[in-house]
Structures are given as structure tokens and as C-alpha cells.
């Protein structure tokens, strides 16, 4: 077993455990902090996949913005954060069955696929993933249109969020 595999197994186990705690912990502030742990694990997975730029974006956007936004929302709805009722609804076993069946179905479908256990080709020397990504995002032959549509979507979300949360009094 190589060092890379050991790192993957440790990080993967931590990510899954932290993810499980996100959905089961009762206190929502703790759940948001476990989400930060999960997102860090996913950032390390990106690094293992040689996608360093995405790992940085994951830390800056997901942990720096989204997780903090969650903590703000939990604090703004504070009286309900430590709610008196149960954390899960009464059909939680149905949800557990659906989740386990989804996982089993995905795992079964994937292991019937021929490319399931293939290994990665070595990265050619001089290959600059960040340079390639920047080129793909801004060249008209690449993905400049989805990139611009994403910026319009973010603007619409910004206006929508301000409008929804605005106190009309």
C-alpha cells in the first residue's frame, strides 16, 4: 500500500465520519463546524486528484463563505437552534433505508462498469492544469458562455437574497 493510498483512506474516513455527524448532530452550530471538517477533507481529496486550484477554491468559497453563512443563519434563527423537539422526523428509518439503498444501488451499478478500477495516467511533464483551466474558462472555443451565465446567476442570487431577507417595515 503506497503512502498516497494511506492518506486517501485516512482522509476519506474522516470525511465520511464528519459528514455523518453533520446530519446527525443535534446542535446546528456543531453541525456547521462538522461541515467545515467535511469540506476540508474534500479539499484534500482534490489535492490528491492534482486539482490544486479547486482545493484552494474549496477552502476560500466553501469554508470561507458558505460555512460562515450557515453559522450566521443558525445564529439568526437562534431560538430554534436548540429546539425542544426531536432533531429528526418520525420517518427517519425510511430516510435511512432510502439512503442505504441509494448507496447500494450506486455501488452495484459502478462495479458493473468496465472502467471502475482503472488507474490514472501519469501527468505529462510541463502540463499546467491552472493555465489550461483558465484558458478553457475564457476562450470562446471553450466554456466562456457557461462562465458568463454563472456570473449572471450569482448576480440574480445576490439580488434575490437581499430582496427575500429585507425587512419590509
Amino acid at each position: 500500500m503506497t503512502g498516497e493510498q494511506i492518506i486517501f483512506l485516512i482522509v476519506g474516513a474522516v470525511t465520511l465520519i464528519a459528514g455523518f455527524l453533520v446530519v446527525t448532530v443535534r446542535n446546528l452550530v456543531h453541525a456547521a463546524l462538522w461541515l467545515v471538517a467535511t469540506l476540508f477533507g474534500v479539499a484534500i481529496i482534490y489535492t490528491l486528484l492534482n486539482a490544486g486550484f479547486l482545493a484552494v477554491v474549496q477552502v476560500v468559497v466553501y469554508i470561507g463563505a458558505i460555512a460562515i453563512l450557515f453559522i450566521f443563519a443558525v445564529m439568526l434563527t437562534r431560538r430554534q437552534a436548540a429546539e425542544t423537539g426531536p432533531a429528526m422526523n418520525k420517518n427517519w428509518w425510511g430516510g435511512a433505508v432510502v439512503a442505504v439503498l441509494t448507496f447500494a444501488g450506486l455501488a452495484f451499478l459502478l462495479q458493473t462498469w468496465s472502467g471502475f478500477s482503472k488507474t490514472a495516467a501519469a501527468i505529462p511533464s510541463g502540463f499546467d492544469a491552472v493555465n489550461q483551466l483558465g484558458g478553457a474558462l475564457t476562450s470562446p472555443a471553450g466554456y466562456v458562455l457557461p462562465f458568463e451565465v454563472a456570473s449572471v446567476l450569482l448576480l440574480a442570487a445576490l439580488v434575490g437574497a437581499v430582496y427575500l431577507a429585507f425587512n419590509k417595515k
Partner: protein, 102 residues
Amino acid sequence: MIPLSWYLILAAGLFSIGLFGVLVRRNAVAILLGVELMLNAVNINLVAFWRYGDISLMAGQVFAIIVFAVAAAEVAVGLALVISVYRRRNTVVAEDLDLLKW
């Protein structure tokens, strides 16, 4: 080297955990936390397929970036909705919001 299967199984597990959270949690903020886990699982798959396929085709990473943008928009609007509902109804429990239920 790590086989592709490890990444796919990890992503499937993370997706199922997120699905469980979305289905069973009562608090609307906790449901959005589950959605975040599912989006992250999808992103692991996208980046893994980029790495294990033709590495010069950047579609996998570009898709992951678009998913980041959509996730940020989704969280901003979703949490604004939760806060707006909390102001009007004084609750964030999803099953109390049954205005459209007969």
C-alpha cells in the same frame, strides 16, 4: 496509485449521507447542510473523472467550478428564505410550514 473506484465509492457514500440528512432532518438549515454534502459528492466525481480520463480536456474542472457557483447561489437564496420564514412564522421546522398542504 489510487484506483478510480475508491473515489467513486467515497462520493457515493457522501452523497447517501447527504440524502439521509435531507430526508430526515426537521430544521430547514440542517436540510440545506445535507444538500451541501450532496453537491460536494458530485464535485468529487467530476474531478475524479477529469483526472482519470483525458487530462487535457478541462470539462470536469470547469463543471466543478460551475457547481461551486450554483452552490453559493443556492445557499444564499435558501438561507434568505429560511430567515424570511423565521421572521414571519417564528419557526424553521420544515414540517410546520404546511400552508400548501390541504
